[in-house]
């Protein structure tokens, strides 16, 4: 029998606020354990939570980017359960009145374009981290307690592991684009739980699903889905029934195993958080956030393809990386031709970033500095090969293109009389080659070009030079 996969995702994204969601502790990764804590995030008796308004702003940007509706009123609820890394014994989350709902995100792949429906995106707080020691004991680090999260829940719209992977990639791109999450799955700032079931192809009703947690990379998500798909199919093939349970992905063995849990332990007894007031967002605020939203990757991609006619590789890079795209846009605004700009971004700029292992955000040249260089080429002041040298010099010593070209006397020689003198000298110095040329060895043209270029240290305007050479060689 052929089976169809049905997958829904729950993505947790840690927001990039300076402080935690409900207290003033810094929101930072990698600090010594338990140094970023206070009575509130430690759940000390008498301490109270107060919502960080930046959490609302970043959540709003995300909701809008996901085409979701932000609700003018939403509320916080408590999700109650006992675990040592959950100091209050409950997590502040949103249950039946979420911050936003009803969005979508398009994903591209071999299936073409597919719209994935987003059920909701709500605000909650992260728990601490349990660290299992070699001696069998467990210690907890509370630095992560209270870090703001947005949980994005999708409809069960995925039919393959690749669709799910493409969605996570798109959401990660979006999160980085609007600068609300760094999208680092390894560190856990982006986490993904997968709800998965299989059904005979053609069946409309959904079968029982399971949930896989601890998927720390997109590859793990794909592997986990395939693994669980096989397991569920084996169960149905042998006449069994899949039971609803939570499974853990083991990265080391690439296996899934059931999470050890007490029977009936998942009654979270949600109820409204009485220590927080209703969360209200005014229509004016929503408009302000909407105005602050940049052009999103999908829109950019379409424009680069359809209006600028960039080739696919450039489209992918310049629409996928906000910094590179913005830099490219700045070049366009400075009057650089789109394809030329894309060529520089794809060529010299990318090489410079790769060799230095840098992000675009740390790229030292201002767009105007690069534009000046590109325009020097376009105006034929320097040749493209000289421009590449100048580019490297600009990166190392920070001088402007103009300063380097002037100081090193690099501008192209286009002057007719000067070039004529050079060509005449080259011809005079190479009588043998000239003779051979005259006798029909026309490919010696490039030899003379090379000699003339050498004589000008590469500064000769190649087009003018070629014209002159042709003229003088063909003079009987």
């Amino acid at each position: 029998m052929t089976y169809e996969l049905v997958i829904g995702l729950e993505i947790h994204a840690q927001l990039l606020t300076d402080t935690k969601a409900f207290c003033r502790c810094p929101n930072r990764y990698g600090e010594p354990p338990n140094t970023l804590t206070c009575p509130t995030c430690l759940g000390m008796p008498g301490a109270l939570p107060v919502l960080n308004r930046n959490v609302v702003e970043q959540s709003a940007l995300l909701a809008l980017a996901l085409n979701a509706t932000i609700h003018p009123h939403s509320k916080f609820d408590r999700k109650n359960y006992f675990y040592p890394d959950l100091p209050k014994g409950y997590q502040i989350s949103q249950f039946d009145e979420p911050f936003s709902s009803g969005g979508w995100q398009d994903v591209e792949g071999e299936w073409g374009m597919k719209r994935i429906r987003i059920t909701r995106a709500h605000i909650e707080e992260d728990a601490g981290k349990s660290l299992h020691q070699d001696d069998g004991s467990t210690v907890v680090d509370m630095n992560r307690c209270g870090v703001p999260l947005v949980e994005i829940v999708t409809e069960p719209d995925f039919r393959s592991e690749s669709e799910a992977a493409a969605f996570i990639t798109a959401v990660r791109e979006l999160l980085r684009y609007i600068r609300v999450c760094d999208g680092n799955m390894e560190r856990g700032s982006l986490r993904c739980d997968v709800n998965i079931s299989v059904r005979p192809l053609g069946q409309t009703a959904l079968n029982e699903r399971t949930e896989i947690k601890n998927l720390n990379s997109i590859r793990a998500v794909e592997r986990g889905i395939l693994c669980e798909r096989e397991r569920q199919i084996r169960i149905y093939e042998s006449g069994g029934q899949v039971i609803r349970e939570t499974l853990l992905w083991d990265e080391a063995t690439e296996e899934i195993r059931p999470m050890r849990r007490k029977e009936g332990a998942d009654d979270y007894r949600y109820f409204p958080e009485p220590d927080l007031v209703e969360l209200t967002v005014s229509p004016e605020e929503i408009e302000r956030y909407r105005d602050g939203l940049p052009e999103l990757p999908n829109v950019r991609r379409k424009r680069y393809r359809e209006q600028l006619h960039l080739h696919e590789e450039a489209v992918a890079v310049l629409s996928g990386d906000r910094e590179q795209g913005d830099y490219f846009e700045a070049l366009l605004r400075l009057g650089v031709d789109a394809r030329t700009a894309a060529g520089w971004m794809q060529g010299e700029v990318r090489r410079a970033l790769t060799s230095e292992n840098r992000d675009m955000a740390d790229f030292p040249l201002a767009p105007s500095a690069l534009a000046e260089l590109i325009q020097a080429v376009e105006r034929s002041t320097i040749s493209i090969s000289v421009a590449k040298d100048v580019f490297r010099k600009m990166l190392t010593d920070g001088r402007s293109a103009r300063a380097i070209i002037e100081a090193e006397n690099l501008s192209q020689v286009s002057d007719e009389s000067e070039l004529r003198l050079i060509v005449e000298r080259v011809l005079a110095e190479n009588p043998d080659e000239l003779a051979k040329y005259k006798s029909g060895k026309r490919n010696l043209m490039s030899f003379f070009m090379g000699q003339a270029m050498k004589a000008t240290r590469g500064r000769a305007n190649p087009n003018r030079l070629a014209e002159l050479l042709q003229e003088l060689l063909d003079t009987p």
Binding site: P39, L42, G43, M44, P45, G46, A47, L48, P49, V50, L51, R78, N80, F82, P84, P87, K88, G89, Y90, V140, K262, D267, R269, Y270, F271, P274, D275, L276, V277
Partner: protein, 490 residues
């Protein structure tokens, strides 16, 4: 300013030396230290009342020096001269915070509650932390690891709860005022039982930051003093927006002391018939009705009103408060601080044994009740329904306050009962709060003022309930009631 407790009713073993008034001390700053010393001595002499759980000698001395210096420098310090006690579910930095529970017996707070911070900044001196029902759950101050609080008026009787220790600290003239917390009557009931004034402000009026939560949506820090004027002085300093408590109101604190005086115009006083139902003791009813008639003769108009949902107040309260409590108290799990069972080895044992051994029976009962009403399948029938009825109760009050300015009721259907009398009968104990709980559910302010004694000499309290943020009005009326009471008794 005289104590409202008639002196002939004081038991023989009560120290008779009176505390100088705050005003007196403020005018003679050099006497403050002696007064603090006396208060500490008196608290120790009266140890058998079990009013205090921690005395803060050293801290109080430091505070005293700071207040004296401040006065010398000419700082305003409106509460200089006030000696205070603070219920031990309100945090003070570097002071143990027990909530009268084994689970927090050795826990020290890292921060100070906003209310305490503001009072101390205004010159008040805190001499100690007071006994209570464990985590403020109780109506008699008997559920405590420190021994049941005894009523100074009749030491074989309860002080009322849960802020019993704070009521006694004022009633026994150890301090001028004290802080309590009131979730369902925990300030007003002990005020009534001990013969002092007790105020539960509007929900949100005083910051809850630093108050260990019982039912966050109902909890409010309140105060005890001998007079309504005294309560007004404390409230002015404590009240006002606190950015550390999201539920704290933006309403500014009540106006300055100069504007506080007895009411000059006549009020429309509502008498809610449901509060005078069966179970009300004859002596209490007589005293309250007699005060009402005095007020009427004094120019106020008396109107009968109805609050039809009153009968649901107790069940609604015990559903909502226990639901919240079951969640708030989850943090006491032995994992990070406080008591941890020595028997526990596995994780589930740490939770089960720690909480089984660390919490008293009443707290366990309420955690179980709260867990039950929030459980899947029961939530709609209990919690959601209770929320709906809570809104109806609020509407009852809104309707009443469209006709009248204040409501007058007894604070409690009876006067204080004997120690142990209701301890094994939680339902009867819960009914002690029947007249105080509605104000918490509606979030409105309510005051208990002593208006006399029953035939056994036990204090009777009159409850004055007002609309949101009408503390000034109910305290002004309280002052008038005190005048009428003392005028008659003299």
């Amino acid at each position: 300013m005289s104590s409202p407790i008639p002196k002939q009713n004081l038991p023989w073993w009560l120290y008779l030396k009176m505390l100088p008034s705050p005003k007196n001390l403020r005018n003679h700053p050099d006497l403050i230290l002696e007064a603090v010393e006396q208060a500490l001595v008196r608290a120790r002499d009266l140890e058998s009342l079990h009013a205090f759980v921690t005395l803060l000698d050293e801290r109080a001395h430091r505070q005293t020096a700071a207040v004296r210096d401040g006065l010398r420098r000419g700082e305003p310090l409106p509460l200089a001269g006030w000696l205070l006690a603070v219920k031990d579910n309100i945090a003070i930095q570097d002071v143990r915070l027990t909530c009268a529970s084994k689970i927090l017996e050795n826990f020290t707070s890292r921060f100070t509650a906003t209310a305490v911070e503001r009072l101390e900044a205004a010159g008040a001196i805190v001499i100690g932390k007071t006994n209570l029902d464990e985590f403020a759950m109780g109506s008699s101050s008997e559920n405590t690891i420190f021994g049941a609080v005894r009523n100074p008026v009749a030491p074989d009787r309860v002080a009322g709860g849960s802020s019993g220790g704070s009521a006694v600290a004022v009633a026994a003239d150890i301090v001028h005022g004290s802080l309590g917390s009131d979730t369902g009557g925990s300030v007003r009931l002990p005020a009534s039982f001990c013969g002092v004034c007790g105020l539960k402000p509007t929900y949100g009026r005083v910051s809850r930051y630093g108050l260990v939560a019982y039912g966050s949506s109902l909890d409010q820090i309140g105060a005890f003093a001998h007079t309504s004027q005294g309560l007004f002085d404390l409230l002015r300093v404590m009240a006002g927006r606190d950015a550390r408590d999201s539920s704290s109101a933006h309403e500014p604190p009540p106006d300055s002391r100069n504007q506080f005086s007895a009411i000059k115009h006549s009020l429309r006083i509502g008498i809610p018939e449901e509060y005078y139902a069966h179970g009300l003791s004859a002596d209490v009813e007589t005293a309250v009705r007699s005060m009402i008639s005095k007020l009427e003769r004094h120019g106020h108009s008396i109107v009968s009103v109805s609050l039809p949902h009153t009968k649901y107040a107790i069940p609604v309260y015990y559903i909502l408060a226990t639901a919240e409590a079951s969640s708030h108290l989850a943090r006491f799990d032995g994992a990070r601080y406080g008591f941890r069972s020595e028997q526990a080895t596995e994780l589930t044992d740490v939770y089960e044994l720690t909480r089984g051994e660390g919490f008293g029976l009443e707290v366990q009962r309420r955690i179980m009740m709260g867990t039950f009403v929030l459980s899947a399948g029961y939530f709609d029938a209990y919690y959601r329904k209770a929320q709906q009825v809570r809104r109806r109760l609020l509407e009852d009050f809104s309707r009443a306050f469209s006709k009248v300015d204040v409501l007058l009721t007894p604070t409690s259907p009876t006067t204080t009962f004997r120690l142990g009398e209701k301890l094994d009968d939680p339902l009867t104990m819960y009914l002690s709060d029947v007249l105080t709980v509605p104000a918490n559910l509606a979030g409105i302010p309510a005051l208990s003022v002593p208006i006399g004694n029953d035939s056994q000499g036990l204090p009777i309290g009159l409850q004055i309930i007002g609309p949101h943020f009408a503390e000034t009005m109910i305290l002004q009326l309280g002052t008038e009631v005190e005048g009428l009471r003392d005028g008659v008794s003299s």
